[in-house]
Every structure is written in structure tokens, then in C-alpha cells.
């Protein structure tokens, strides 16, 4: 497997002129690599993922998967979205089977495989539940199982844990590391959470905003499974943060006005503050 992102650019035409979402993005992803893309919101990282998925079309450049130009969505690039995107009228196991159904896998076999992957995400006992009966984290795990059954060349994950509470997110980050080590999948993971990126990735791609392009590539050379809060991890997080802070500030300035700054107002004025009178 090889994924080549070549000079990808994306321009949106809007009523107030056009917006350059991506500019000259170049990236090569090797087989079995875990890539995390971080960047401020609106930097075009999800757009890039959608282009790889084939859901959006680049206005410039191309994406090659094993030398084949990507033009449309397909099961060789499984996608996990921020929302689980499970079908509410299907039971969990039927949801997991659905992709294989489209691929023409016979019912017996797809049921077995679905159960295998549900077991991998530790949801075998919830196979018969409907999505609305599951918690947010469980739904995301079903979606992960469904994505894994496609046996795709690459797994695209678009902030899959962003909508979950932090405890659930931690558990899923650990589980994803284990699953990645077991399945040796190539994963392209988009997030705005630096700690998440450093914890999961072989390489962290820092995206700059307006227009979005690759600002820096940072190799994370740490043993797995990586634990939250370890000193090595914190060191990497700090260094990525530094690169990212500039970009976040750039976006913030654009949204809050030019006189906005990180440095100002670090102590918030609190009208209820009694300046230690309770002592």
C-alpha cells in the first residue's frame, strides 16, 4: 500500500469570493503507518481527509492510492466520522455487516467476521442492540468495527473521538493503539487534540491555516502502547504545541479581531473575587 498526496489544492467558491482551503499539500504515507494530522479548526485537515475518501474533489493536484488516482469513494478507504454514522434501524451487528453486504460477502461469513470484529472492540454482548441503546463511545466502537471489516487499504478517521467525554476518549485511544498493533492497518487520523495525535501517531503532521498546508512533520519515536501523561509524551506534546500555537493564534485573530492575543488577559477578572478576604 502507498498513499501519495501530490500538490493537492482546494478552492471553495462562495458568494464573498473564493476561499483557499488547501494549498500545495504533499505527503507520502507508507504501508502500516499511523499518521495524525493536527491543526486549528478550519485549517482544511478534514477537507484533506474527505478528498482522500473521495467525498470531495480537489481543485488542484491529485491523490494516488497504489498509483491509482482517487476519484470517488470506495471500500478500499474506510472512513470513521466524528459521529458514528450507524444506521438506527439496524442492530449493531447488522451495521457492522453492512459494508461486507455491499461487497457481496455471503451472510454466514459476514456474520462471523462481524462478530469477530465486535469482539475486538469488546462489544460482542451488544451485537443485538440498536444504536440508540448504546452510549456514544460504544457507537464509535461499532463504527470502528464496521470500518475494520471492510479490510480497506487505509483507514481514514475524522476526529472520531472528539465528541466523546474524556474518560471514554482515553480508553478508546488505548484500544485503538492495540487494534492498530494487531491489524497493522495504515491509519490517517485527523484531530485537533495534540496529546491524542502524539499518543497515536508514527508521524504528526502539523497543519497551518489559511490556506491549509503542511507546516511541519514530527516523527514520534516512542514505544507503544503509549500512556497518557508519561514524560516523553509530554515533551513531544510541548514541541508540537509550540508549532501549533502560532497557527491557532492566526485563526483566533481572524475570528476575534487583530488586537486579540494569547498574551493578554491571562488572568480573568472575576467580580466575585474577594482577594483572599476569607483568610
Amino acid at each position: 500500500m502507498s498513499l501519495d498526496i501530490k500538490n493537492v489544492g482546494m478552492v471553495y467558491e462562495t458568494e464573498s469570493g473564493h476561499i483557499q482551503a488547501l494549498d500545495q499539500v504533499n505527503l507520502q504515507i507508507r504501508d502500516g503507518e499511523f499518521i495524525c494530522v493536527v491543526g486549528p479548526s478550519g485549517c482544511g485537515k478534514s477537507t484533506l481527509l474527505n478528498i482522500i475518501a473521495g467525498l470531495e474533489h480537489a481543485t488542484d493536484g491529485e491523490v494516488l492510492l497504489d498509483g491509482q488516482r482517487i476519484t470517488a469513494p470506495g471500500p478500499d478507504r474506510a472512513v470513521m466520522f466524528q459521529e458514528a454514522a450507524l444506521y438506527p434501524w439496524m442492530r449493531a451487528v447488522e451495521n457492522v455487516e453492512f459494508g461486507m453486504k455491499a461487497a457481496g460477502v455471503p451472510p454466514q461469513e459476514r456474520h462471523q467476521r462481524a462478530m469477530k470484529y465486535l469482539d475486538l472492540v469488546r462489544l460482542k454482548s451488544f451485537a443485538q442492540a440498536y444504536p440508540h441503546e448504546l452510549s456514544g463511545g460504544m457507537r464509535q466502537r461499532v463504527a470502528l468495527a464496521r470500518a475494520l471489516t471492510l479490510d480497506s487499504k487505509v483507514l481514514l478517521m475524522d476526529e472520531p473521538f472528539a465528541a466523546l467525554d474524556s474518560q471514554t476518549r482515553n480508553i478508546l485511544q488505548l484500544e485503538l493503539q492495540h487494534i492498530w498493533m494487531e491489524t497493522k492497518k495504515t491509519i490517517f487520523f485527523v484531530t485537533h487534540n495534540v496529546e491524542e495525535a502524539v499518543m497515536l501517531a508514527d508521524r504528526v503532521i502539523v497543519f497551518s491555516a489559511h490556506p491549509g498546508h503542511v507546516k511541519k512533520v514530527i516523527k514520534i519515536e516512542l514505544a507503544r502502547p503509549r500512556q497518557r501523561g508519561s514524560i516523553d509524551l509530554t515533551f513531544y506534546v510541548k514541541s508540537v504545541m509550540k508549532d501549533l500555537a502560532e497557527e491557532v493564534e492566526k485563526v483566533a485573530k481572524k475570528e476575534y479581531g487583530d488586537n486579540w492575543s494569547f498574551e493578554d488577559d491571562t488572568v480573568l477578572y472575576n467580580p466575585d473575587s474577594d482577594m483572599g478576604a476569607y483568610l
Partner: protein, 253 residues
């Protein structure tokens, strides 16, 4: 229990208005406002004569045929319009216009095309609910969470399977609501059609009441029409709707 009490009070008020309006204040002549008792007696005598059962059966048969036709036509039309690349929104507006046209307005056409017979009544019934169902299908498809379709496409689902396994089930809650609405439109259209051009059925019996100056029969027929309409709406469609909405994990409305 509460329901029964509600109807007892309603009938009591009716009786009171009858006593006051006809007996004491002489607002109406007795042939212009029936008492609950006379309506009840009319219902019993019509029921014993068998003409009521016959009328109900005839009307229900028309209803079922006309409604099924309109469901098939309406869903097909709705799917076609929601598939259109061009003129989709214009078609939508056009159907909305047709929907707002009372279906009895089609009667002159129906009579010219089919004559005064079964077919013309069926035509009016069918056209009465077809557009309502189409509109429900169109809005149902339009309001599908785009994520469902994106996810399906990334799994390689396309063509008929995308429709059969994703889009139609995703639109089903709205579709069922539309079918329920279509039923009540068809029911109204059928009654109007029967009153204007038919030889038997509930609408005809209501008109007979008018022709014979028998206001009790008119009200008796009105009650039967309401009861059947309500019963089908509640027992059949209401249950179906609740079941689908619950299964889909949506909130009750």
C-alpha cells in the same frame, strides 16, 4: 376511563343545547337540529336494516383501493422528483400547489374521463392523497442525514442498494407520517366524491339524509365518518408511526 367521561360530557352538552336551542329558545326548528337520542335511534335502525354495513363496506373498499393506488403513485412520484437534477424544486412547488387544490375540484375531469361510476370516485380519492404522500417522500429524502449517505458511499454501497438499504429506511419515519396524513386526505376526498357522484357509500347516505330532510341521518353519518377516520388514524397509522419512530430511536412527537 377519561375518554368515556369526556364523551359523556360532550353528549350531555349536546343534549343541553338541543333542549335549550330547540325547545326553550326556538333558535332552530326540530328538523334542523337533531337530539342525541334521535341520532342514536337512526344509527340503530340503519344498522338493523343492513344499509349502514353495506355503505361502510363499499366506502372502505373504495378507500383501500384508492389509497393503495395513491401510496404507490405518491411514493414513485416522490422518489422521481427527489432524484431530479434540474427542476426538482420547481416540481416540488408544483406538487405543493396541486396538493393545496381540494381534490373535489378534479371531479369534473373525473366524470368526463370515467363517467359517473366507481372509477371517478376512485380517481378523486387517489388524487386526494397522492400529492401529500409525494411531498412527504420528497422532504423525507431531502432531510436524510448526509452522513448516512457518505458513510454508505465509503463502504462501496451504490445504486439500488443505496436506495433500498439506506435512503428509504432513513426516510421511513417521515414517510410513515406522510402516509398517515395521506390517509386522512384520501378519506376526505372519498366522502366528497361520494356525496357528489355515487350511488352508494357513506357519503351517499349523508346526502340521502339531506334529500329526505332527515337531519338525524346526516349527523349519524357524520359520526360514522369521524369514528372510522379516527379509528384508522389512531389504531393503524398511529401505532405504525410510534413503532417506526421508536425503533429508529427518534423522539415521540
Amino acid at each position: 376511563m377519561k375518554t368515556i367521561l369526556f364523551y359523556i360530557i360532550l353528549i350531555a352538552i349536546w343534549e343541553l343545547i338541543y333542549k335549550l336551542g330547540v325547545g326553550v329558545l326556538h333558535w332552530w326548528k326540530s328538523y334542523a337540529f337533531p337530539s342525541p337520542l334521535s341520532v342514536f335511534q337512526t344509527l340503530v335502525s340503519l344498522g338493523q336494516g343492513g344499509s349502514l354495513e353495506l355503505a361502510v363496506l363499499v366506502s372502505m373498499k373504495r378507500m383501500v383501493i384508492g389509497y393503495l393506488l395513491s401510496a404507490v403513485l405518491g411514493v414513485t412520484l416522490g422518489l422521481l422528483v427527489s432524484q431530479m437534477q434540474h427542476f426538482g424544486s420547481q416540481f416540488n412547488a408544483f406538487i405543493l400547489g396541486l396538493q393545496s387544490l381540494p381534490s373535489i375540484c378534479w371531479l369534473p375531469f373525473a366524470v368526463l374521463w370515467f363517467g359517473i361510476n366507481e372509477s371517478s370516485v376512485l380517481f378523486v380519492t387517489t388524487i386526494g392523497s397522492t400529492f401529500a404522500i409525494s411531498l412527504a417522500v420528497i422532504s423525507g429524502i431531502k432531510n436524510i442525514n448526509p452522513l448516512y449517505i457518505h458513510a454508505a458511499k465509503t463502504m462501496g454501497v451504490q445504486g439500488i442498494m443505496l436506495y433500498r438499504d439506506v435512503m428509504i429506511p432513513a426516510a421511513l419515519p417521515n414517510l410513515v407520517t406522510g402516509l398517515k396524513q395521506g390517509w386522512s386526505f384520501a378519506w376526505r376526498a372519498l366522502m366528497a366524491g361520494e356525496m357528489m357522484s355515487s350511488t352508494h357509500g357513506l357519503g351517499v347516505m349523508l346526502m340521502q339524509g339531506r334529500d329526505f330532510g332527515d337531519i338525524s341521518q346526516v349527523v349519524a353519518m357524520m359520526i360514522i365518518i369521524i369514528v372510522i377516520g379516527l379509528a384508522v388514524d389512531r389504531l393503524l397509522f398511529g401505532r405504525l408511526e410510534r413503532k417506526v419512530w421508536r425503533r429508529w430511536g427518534l423522539n415521540q412527537h
